[in-house]
């Protein structure tokens, strides 16, 4: 019996034709919290199936591949209310034979889900949360992150601004907790890449609605006043994940300056305008299937589900352990329309990825920028590097 197992392992590990693997059925969970869908711009209000559609697109891709291998993939969508503890939902998924889960959850809920699933041997993909602490002090050995962290996004933006010689930044920060976390990542990026924050202001959320019939008249008066009397600066960087003010800044600043961060030039894992590296095919396929454009969250979920499919195709297995081991291993490389292979940082299970810089209409640039060098991978100039990380995976 042992000999049979050994031979099977040798066959699976070697260079083999895509056949003779046993048929598998891979059930994947999709766990998400339904949040209010808000955005300053009417055209940027997130779709109801934001993220989920990306996972479904990847499941379709996995099944196209799977028809040649006898592999079938399915997705189970589980919706939670904001503030719910996901432990019960995780246990229910495990009872139904789902042990690999894509999670679009806030940081605390993600940790609750991961810890509840750990006892059952479950593997999670964080597709939505950008919080640094999930990759640092609060990292988990059963959570892979396809969402880029705030530091990765801020570093990607900072490299471009510094390359552009826009080194003097006017930082405007929202009053919500997530805004402050993004601002912290921006300050760190400025220190790392030699930019200077010459002025910092807080934009208080006074609770007004984002839509009103004569709002534009007031906004046109308020924003210039808010941004006046700043010291000389090259670019205004806004930290407003809460969608309270940043979208109003372009063209309304007191001084004629470009805006970046949460509006203007935005760092993101994906944009519907990306047409390089074969991305047009992905965009076309997505629009055909869902009748809308592909968002960053969709791409983060697509990537996670494709990583699962890639592992299954290469290993012939559907267990969480095999999936994690393969993705952490030296043979894993994913093609995801970013111009180079994506791999995983073994110290905190964060996906290495180029970051797009977009104005919402075109891709302005892609970071890492030329000249930001690294001894291992230039992608590791984005975010916390191995030597800086506080993550302990055990």
């Amino acid at each position: 019996m042992l000999r049979v197992v050994l031979i099977a392992l040798v066959l699976a590990a070697g260079l083999s034709a895509a056949k003779a693997t046993d048929p598998i059925d891979f059930k994947i969970g999709y766990l998400r919290v339904i949040k209010p869908r808000t955005a300053i711009s009417l055209v940027e209000v997130p779709p109801v199936n934001n993220g989920l559609a990306g996972a479904q697109a990847a499941i379709a891709d996995n099944n196209t591949t799977g028809q040649f291998l006898g592999q079938r993939f399915s997705l189970e969508d589980v919706k939670l209310k904001d503030g719910d503890n996901p432990a019960a939902a995780v246990a229910a998924l495990a009872d139904r034979g789902v042990s690999v889960v894509l999670a679009d959850l806030p940081a605390d809920a993600l940790l609750q889900a991961a810890d509840a699933g750990r006892a059952r041997g479950m593997l999670f993909f964080n597709v939505g949360a950008t919080d640094e602490r999930l990759r640092e002090n609060d990292c988990r050995p059963n959570v892979i992150h396809t969402a880029p962290s705030r530091a990765m996004l801020a570093d990607a933006l900072a490299q471009y601004l510094v390359w552009k010689q826009w080194r003097r930044w006017f930082l405007v920060v929202g009053s919500h907790e997530t805004d402050k976390l993004f601002a912290e990542a921006i300050r760190r990026a400025a220190r790392r890449f030699g930019a200077k924050i010459v002025e910092e202001r807080v934009f208080e959320d006074t609770g007004g609605s984002r839509r009103s019939d004569s709002g534009v008249v007031q906004i046109q008066r308020q924003l210039p006043v808010f941004t006046q009397q700043a010291p000389a600066y090259d670019v205004l960087v806004a930290a407003d994940e809460s969608e309270v003010f940043a979208g109003y800044l372009p063209y309304r600043t007191w001084d004629p300056r470009p805006v970046a961060g949460s509006a203007g030039l935005v760092a993101t894992s994906w944009d519907a305008s990306n047409d390089q590296w074969g991305a047009t095919q992905m965009q076309d396929r997505f629009i055909k299937q869902f009748g809308r454009r592909m968002t960053a969250l969709d791409m983060q979920a697509w990537t996670a589900a494709r990583m699962i499919g890639e592992s299954a195709a290469r290993t012939g297995a559907n267990s969480p352990k095999t999936t994690l081991d393969f993705i952490k291993g030296p043979d894993f490389a994913l093609a995801a329309f970013k111009g180079q292979k994506l791999t995983v940082r073994d110290w905190n299970l964060q996906l290495r990825q180029p970051i797009l810089l977009t104005d919402g209409k075109t891709i302005v640039s892609v970071s890492p920028q030329e000249g930001f060098l690294h001894q291992f991978s230039e992608l590791d100039t984005l975010g916390f590097d191995r030597g800086e990380s506080k993550c302990k995976l055990n």
Binding site: A17, T64, T65, Q281, A335
Partner: protein
């Protein structure tokens, strides 16, 4: 001093084709929507032909009378008369055609349709589609065995080389290769199939009878990070001894001993090199360098890059007349 050619003389030379011994290369310029025509004897541009939108895959018909070019954004393949430089016919390729290949007789065209995961089979005489074969996600590379019996399509997101029996039009084997397989090329004796994986950074050498990968060729260039080494185009000499692999943003072509599968040399060419073609006498190998808008000319016997020729915007593919 040699007399200069008159404009009339040049026009006549184009109209009548080139003198014996000279071949003509046709370069598709993806962004320029043109084909650049190059005299491979003089190594000079002799004409530019306007075609449809986003020309990529390019080949000559087996009789040498027409250039076939896939114009993806127009969802078709155009036939250009090599004598007149005019588009004389349109083939119904299916949506967004990129690469295609012909059967050895030149009667059948096989086209990869990336948007609907199929290979379209086209009757060239009737100019009508015969059948579609379902393959993996985003088929791209298309290779045909020297005996014309087996078609290979590579699927970029499924990461497989699909072996298709051309008679039954069914897939008979599916071989997993590394990420984003772009191109498939048989050795002339049919003994090996080479498949490049752009994102994986390798070339898989496949035994086409057993359908197994027998060797994975890897590349290492001092001073270049591994992510920049992205193999795409593969050309193997007729004698099966030497292979050339274009390495994309590494700006180099790898020279490989095709018997031992060992990399012998890296030749520095233009920026983002993708596809290549030999002159029929295998004196030269031409490479398309997308970012630098030029083609490099490799002296095959001496393994040296001897010239760069400016072509149109974003050169993608190249085909060379056999006559």
């Amino acid at each position: 001093m040699r007399p200069r050619y008159s404009l009339l003389g040049i026009a006549a030379a184009i109209a009548l084709g080139n003198p014996a011994g000279a071949f003509t290369a046709y370069v598709s310029n993806e962004k320029g929507n043109t084909i650049t025509v190059v005299d491979t004897d003089k190594l000079q541009v002799v004409n530019t032909i306007r075609v449809g939108q986003r020309p990529r895959g390019i080949e000559l018909t087996k009789d040498g009378k027409f250039v076939l070019v896939a114009v993806g954004d127009d969802d078709r393949i155009e036939m250009v008369d090599v004598k007149s430089g005019e588009i004389v016919a349109i083939l119904p390729s299916g949506p967004d055609p990129e690469l295609f290949t012909q059967d050895p007789a030149g009667k059948i065209l096989y086209v990869a349709n990336e948007n609907n995961n199929t290979v379209t089979i086209i009757d060239m005489d009737k100019r009508s589609p015969l059948a579609e074969v379902q393959v993996g996600v985003e088929p791209e590379g298309m290779g045909i065995s020297p005996d014309g019996k087996t078609l290979v399509a590579t699927s970029e997101t499924t990461n497989m080389a699909h072996f298709i029996d051309v008679d039954t039009r069914r897939t008979v084997a599916n071989v997993l290769v590394d990420a984003r397989p772009r191109f498939a090329e048989f050795k002339r004796d049919g003994s090996e199939l080479w498949v490049s994986s752009e994102v994986g950074g390798t070339v898989s050498v496949i035994d086409p009878a057993k359908h197994v990968v027998i060797k994975k060729i890897t590349f290492a260039i001092p001073g270049l990070r591994s992510e920049a080494i992205q193999p795409v185009g593969i050309n193997i000499t007729k004698d099966g001894k030497t292979a050339f692999v274009a390495l994309g943003p590494a700006n180099r072509v790898a020279v490989i001993d095709a018997a031992t599968h060992e990399v012998k040399k890296y030749l520095l060419v233009g920026q983002r090199v993708w596809h290549m073609a030999f002159t029929p006498d295998e004196r030269y190998l031409l490479t398309t360098n997308g970012v630098s808008n030029d083609i490099s000319v490799i002296d095959v016997a001496n393994l040296k890059v001897i010239k760069s020729i400016q072509v149109g915007e974003l050169p993608w593919g190249v085909a060379i007349s056999q006559h």
